[in-house]
Symmetry: C2
DNA sequence: CTATTATATGATCAACGTTCAATAAGACCT
DNA sequence: AGGTCTTATTGAACGTTGATCATATAATAG
């Protein structure tokens, strides 16, 4: 097997992902080219296509790695069974992640698959895992009842969080008076949880 | 002035935008190429660069037109000074818009400017205008007090709405049990407004 | 040592964004 | 009318991109 340098397939995958993540982190998804990745690895273009189906597939794996990193970050947040406090802590960690990994995080949403293609199962699983974290933090509010509503609330919080950070970071929220993301998520959490505690307890 | 066909600059702009919007609507931003737009118009490639600085600028104007269309849609929603009802109506209209203009709406967020470039003022103004609509619907809750909080609440609602629709449409929310966007926004509005009414009235 | 198999290569292709000298057609003046 | 100026329009040309695949090469098996 013509390995010019002794790298196993797994090593090659790791090298390609590392190079790609660095490129995206430093210059955004737009800067990610097959040629640059190959060059960085010291391999030829064709080798990349040996590892990934195409550029979309490569980006998908970059995004997968970002979801993993996000999971690692969020699962390090200690939970106290105080829903309000815990959700706030998760939110803070999330916001911090979007700042320190800005371009990688943006890539999660700037990239979309060609029409007709769906996200693979392994990708969905990484998302489910993240949602589960929010569910766990949120659970105390529901007293073990109404798991469907718990699921829904977790999704609402998760996507709202995403929305706020998304529009805030690109300044598409037109934040003139410098109300940073944290200010908005605080309002979201405070009031949404307050509302939840009302509708649940009845 | 060598106009091969008698089209004023404004007409050319409109033709280019129309062609671009159609391309995006039918096949997503990825399908938008300068060559296709020019071909559709019956003009040469160079003419496009006569109208727009570059492809990014063209997409920015496509997105501007989408924001205008969204504004038209939302400002047609009749308001009743019942915040809960009105916000819900706006939200429903918003969701409907994301469905009927899916690819155009996605383009708003899939596209980002090259590093270092900022969104122009006219673009920000289109966003402000939309936020003002939400503020108006939300105003009754605040009894004319605390305009800062009103502004904040509008932004929270707006970006959360965006987040939910964004993750729902690409199925990045991992919605297995078919909880569509409307279900989530309902939960968001119900509970967030309920929470707001508590924190405000005290 | 040979045959087989797996891997790595990079020239090659079509398509893209962008540029710009050349061109053509209006306007303007005499 | 004729000549000049100005300006819109052109499209060939350039560099770069994603993707392909016949070819070359190295490890393994017989």
């Amino acid at each position: 097997m013509a390995r010019r340098y002794d790298h196993s397939r797994d090593q090659l995958l790791e090298m390609a992902l590392d190079a790609s993540r660095t490129l995206v982190l430093e210059n955004g998804v737009r800067a990610l080219t097959v040629r640059k990745v190959a060059g960085e690895m010291g391999y030829a273009v064709g080798t990349i296509y040996n590892l990934f189906a195409n550029l979309d597939d490569l980006i998908l794996h970059v995004n997968g790695a970002t979801l993993d990193a996000l999971y690692d970050t969020l699962s390090d947040v200690p939970l106290t069974a105080d829903a309000d406090k815990d959700v706030r802590a998760l939110s803070a960690a999330y916001i911090d992640f979007t700042i320190t990994h800005l371009n990688l995080w943006n890539a999660l949403f700037e990239h979309s698959l060609p029409a007709g293609e769906d996200l693979p199962d392994w990708y969905h699983e990484k998302i489910t895992r993240l949602l589960k974290l929010v569910e766990t933090a949120l659970a105390p509010i529901f007293n073990g009842q109404n798991p469907t509503e718990l699921e829904k609330a977790a999704r609402v919080l998760w996507s709202s969080l995403h929305g706020i950070c998304s529009l805030a970071t690109v300044n598409k929220l037109d934040i003139v008076t410098a109300a940073p993301a944290l200010d908005l998520t605080d309002s979201l959490i405070t009031n949404y949880l307050l509302g939840l505690s009302q509708t649940v307890s009845k």
